[in-house]
Symmetry: C2
Subunit: 150 residues, 2 copies
């Protein structure tokens, strides 16, 4: 998928488009890092616990930028410190991301997010409203857990 041009998707079924645009082993983890812990740079993404390889991270960032999901503000002094952020198209992935969190919290007995936690309860009760609140937070440069990006 990493070299799929926009015109070469297997189909324009709405499920397939999503799978091809962000449905690989890593893209949603990068987006998670931005939404939950406010990560912005290559170096920060590289530190995540799942252990993404350097070449895979570079490829994923370039693909998500090509898809219009991420935007990059170059830092002329240090390429590892370019700032990545979600575009509006990327912010529209937040309801998908939060529904995945709900599903995993319900079905993974070892999930970090637990049924009964504040986040789980808020999401269960009004996923659409929480999504809009999180989008607004991100547009202002925030994230869900501001202390968690190191």
């Amino acid at each position: 998928m990493k070299t799929t041009p926009k015109e070469a998707f297997r189909s324009h079924c709405a499920v397939n488009y999503g799978v091809e645009a962000f449905g690989d082993r890593w893209s949603l983890l990068i987006i998670r890092d931005i939404v939950f812990t406010g990560k912005k740079t290559y170096g920060q993404f590289l530190k995540s616990e799942e252990g993404i390889a350097t070449n895979v991270l570079a490829s994923r960032l370039a693909f998500l930028e090509e898809q219009g999901i991420l935007s990059k503000k170059p830092n002329p002094d240090d390429r590892r410190k370019d700032f990545y952020a979600l575009t509006e198209k990327g912010l529209d992935l937040i309801p998908i991301l939060l529904n995945i969190v709900l599903w995993s919290a319900k079905h993974d007995s070892q999930s970090y997010v637990r049924p009964g936690s504040k986040l789980f309860d808020q999401l269960s009760q009004s996923p659409a409203q929480v999504s809009e609140e999180v989008k607004a937070l991100l547009r202002e440069g925030g994230c869900i857990f501001p202390a968690g990006n190191e």
Copy 2:
């Protein structure tokens, strides 16, 4: 991912669990085929327009069964005609699937589902309610577009 045992997930982050359980290039397309067009058999899944390879399909069906997302009712006469269905854990993926449809309809200019269509409008207005209705439909053996499975 195809041979990842349940205990070997990269992390139990709720986003990562979802990515590892169904976030590959094919699993959500199999689930789409069940939810939208009522497909049930290996032979039906094989005919989908994205062109899944036989060995990949067999591997994905086995993995989704292992994850508790699909259940299989064996047909002793013909293994290609075993019936696959979503479990309750699998039905809980429907909100994710429908939010992907919404996202793609909004952002893919060539999407089969268009903004302004009945499905898009219903989903936009009340994604959680539509998800519950679709789950109920599936539990009764139905699907969203009953005529589309051939």
